[in-house]
């Protein structure tokens, strides 16, 4: 399983580079050409095309190199990692953390800065395994500090919240 994961990881990365490079080359061909008095100038597609070509070349090189270095990496990886990460509590925390961070803009747009941020901070701290009392107190401090630093001093504006403005 582990061996498969490492191989898949390297293969996915190398292949992704090749796909990304190919995409950059082909998509940039849709960019307009620049002409001046009969001369075709280096247009907007020039640099992305160069990057795309280099990316494909390095992607292929990476795939070849990682294939030959496989055994070395696998040994090291197997020594460092025990158990199945994808079934662990850590993986669940990882997913919950990413999902919560991605949801913060929606939460704050709906509940407003104060309520949204307070709730976000409490959930975040619970994901990070903080005690309830610490989570509540710290969340209150974070909300207060953010308001002073960003709203009062730096004049950053935050959403008021749909539920507070829908009247």
């Amino acid at each position: 399983m582990r061996k498969l994961n490492i191989k898949i990881g390297n293969a996915i990365f190398g292949t992704s580079l090749c796909i990304l490079g190919s995409f950059m080359i082909f998509y940039s061909q849709t960019f307009p050409k620049v002409h001046t008095g009969g001369d075709v100038l280096t247009g907007p597609s020039f640099f992305p095309t160069v990057i795309g070509i280099l990316m494909i070349a390095l992607g292929i090189f990476y795939l070849i190199l990682s294939y030959f270095q496989q055994a070395k990496v696998e040994r090291k990886y197997n020594q460092e990692n025990k158990g199945n990460f994808f079934k662990s509590r850590e993986f669940f925390n990882f997913l919950a953390f990413v999902a919560l961070t991605a949801l913060y803009p929606t939460i704050i747009n709906f509940l407003g800065f104060f309520v949204g941020t307070f709730l976000f901070c409490i959930i975040l701290m619970k994901i990070l395994q903080a005690k309830w009392i610490n989570a509540i107190l710290s969340s209150l401090i974070i909300v207060g500090l953010t308001w002073i630093i960003f709203v009062k001093i730096a004049s950053v504006s935050f959403p008021v919240g749909i539920i507070f403005t829908s009247k």
């Binding site: 990304l20 960019f31 307009p32 640099f47 280099l54 975040l124 950053v156």
Partner: protein
């Protein structure tokens, strides 16, 4: 006016109070991810209209110096660069902090910044017209090579994994092509999304790559959440730091010189200076194998360079009215209000004010030390909080810091994606620093290459044959391969001697 009367004027309350307050503000702005030194200056400018011109410059310069220094504090302690100029400070600073030497790293940052700033201002005083004339000889061809030179640091920053380093830099370059093409105005890779028209701001990317990825890494580890060890913040090892700086005096001087020179080139700035100085240190130092693993030289080089660059950025601003970076670009607009007309005659026409500005630059470095100690101690106290609260705070301020740049939640998604990208890249052993380098230098390389090729009708030869271009190429070659050439030559000589 004598030097004493200038200093006497500067120590009057109407100058001193706004000066110190602005420096404290800079300390706070720099240490808060998402608030940059540029943003700090933009916030200060309206206030400077109401004060004496000397106080105005004291506020702007003082704020810039403290902000650039204090950006190193979160970079060292929580792996989030406070300002773009502190990107390179993350590398060895955070590694030192992990070893329990955070207080020493920050002491080095503080004294190195003060020296770098002092050096930058001295160069500004004595060589401003000369350096500005030299900088103006640089055209697109030279700027292209300068960008390539910066990017070549990838090979050095890759810690032996050169292929992975170049892949990382390529990803950065690819990201830098998103947004409106400056030369033709055509939107590239925006897919109709208006948020992408202005391109991807590198601050959320940097916060995500270094800050959020560290939180993610901690989340996936079985052991209790870890953060840098806290010790020595009550009594900072400033004397030890001063001794270290003295032992590495050549590195301090070289890095400061690199900082001033790069700062003096319009459109570059403290961030590029710090990366180049770090790269040069990593490739030319006797301790090159240790730099990157938490070595003092890796802390000294970028911190001296980024503060020295501030003095450098004012050289073209004062002499030709050409901004050296975004801060000077903002201040240039306000200079006439302060009674300054930028140009080659500025040093004679506004002699008194210019002398005061020079004195402000130098004295700010002295003020920086006690104020910096204050900032470091406060940060040390924050780090004593439980680890999970610190990481929650890091996450939240990463989010808010990314949002605050443009008041746009799109940047939060960019930060989150960068965090995930950084997490996976680190898992695969791909270094993150070259990605930032590619993102910062991408537009500089592309625009100058294209404009240069347009000028020469597609002929690349002038990129190599111009004297200044050639000088940069040779310099780059020496930096990259100099140590290999020297060791090869010395090996050949040794063999010859042995055979005799």
């Amino acid at each position: 006016m004598t030097i004493w009367s200038i200093i006497g004027d500067l120590f009057s309350l109407k100058v001193l109070i706004p000066w110190i307050l602005a420096m404290l503000f800079g300390l706070f702005v720099g240490a808060t991810p998402g608030l940059t030194a540029t943003m700090g200056v933009a916030l200060l400018i309206p206030l400077t209209y109401y004060v004496d011109p000397r106080a105005a410059f004291a506020m702007i310069l003082g704020q810039s110096f403290t902000a650039i220094f204090s950006g190193d504090i979160p970079a060292t302690l929580i792996r989030i660069p406070g300002t773009p100029a502190s990107g390179a400070a993350v590398l060895d600073g955070f590694e030192m902090a992990k070893k329990g030497k955070g207080a020493l790293a920050l002491s080095l940052d503080l004294l190195g910044s003060a020296f770098g700033g002092f050096f930058g201002i001295l160069v500004l005083i004595f060589t401003a017209p000369l350096l500005a004339k030299f900088a103006l000889k640089f055209t697109n061809f030279e700027y292209f090579w300068l960008g390539v030179f910066g990017l070549s640091m990838t090979a050095i920053l890759s810690r032996g994994k050169i292929l992975n380093g170049f892949i990382s830099a390529l990803i950065g370059l690819a990201i830098s092509t998103i947004g409106v093409d400056i030369t033709t105005g055509y939107p590239r890779f925006t897919f109709g999304n208006p948020n992408l028209i202005g391109g991807i701001s590198f601050i959320p990317v940097m916060i995500g790559l270094f800050g959020l990825s560290e939180v993610l890494k901690n989340l996936t580890e079985k052991q209790e959440m870890s953060s840098p060890a806290i010790s020595g913040f009550e009594k900072l090892p400033l004397l030890e730091a001063a001794k270290i700086l003295w032992n590495y005096k050549i590195r301090v001087l070289i890095s400061s010189l690199i900082g001033v020179f790069i700062g003096a080139l319009p459109g570059t700035g403290a961030d590029v200076a710090a990366w180049v100085a770090y790269g040069v240190a990593k490739n030319t130092s006797k301790n090159k194998n240790e730099i990157g693993t938490g070595h003092v030289e890796g802390v000294i080089a970028p911190t001296c360079a980024n503060n020295a660059a501030i003095g450098g950025t004012w050289i073209p601003a004062f002499v030709f009215g050409i901004p050296g970076d975004t801060i000077t670009a903002i201040v240039l607009g306000a200079m006439l209000i302060y009674g300054l007309r930028p140009g080659p005659n500025i040093f004679s026409e506004s002699k008194n004010l210019m002398d005061s500005i020079f004195a402000i630059g130098l004295i700010s470095q002295i003020f920086l030390i006690p104020l910096g100690i204050l900032g470091i101690r406060a940060s040390g106290k924050i780090l004593k909080l439980p680890r999970n609260i610190i990481w929650a705070g890091v996450t939240f301020f990463s989010i808010i810091g990314s949002y605050a740049i443009n008041n746009n939640f799109f940047d939060v998604y960019i930060m989150l994606l960068s965090g995930l990208l950084g997490f996976f890249l680190e898992m695969l052993g791909v270094p993150l620093a070259p990605l930032i380098l590619g993102l910062i230098l991408g537009p500089m390389i592309e625009n100058n290459l294209r404009v240069g090729l347009i000028k020469t009708h597609g002929n690349f030869l002038p990129f190599i044959t111009r004297p200044y271009s050639l000088a940069i190429i040779i310099f780059m070659f020496l930096i990259l391969f100099g140590s290999n050439i020297i060791s090869f030559v010395s090996r050949v000589f040794r063999r010859k001697n042995e055979s005799f």
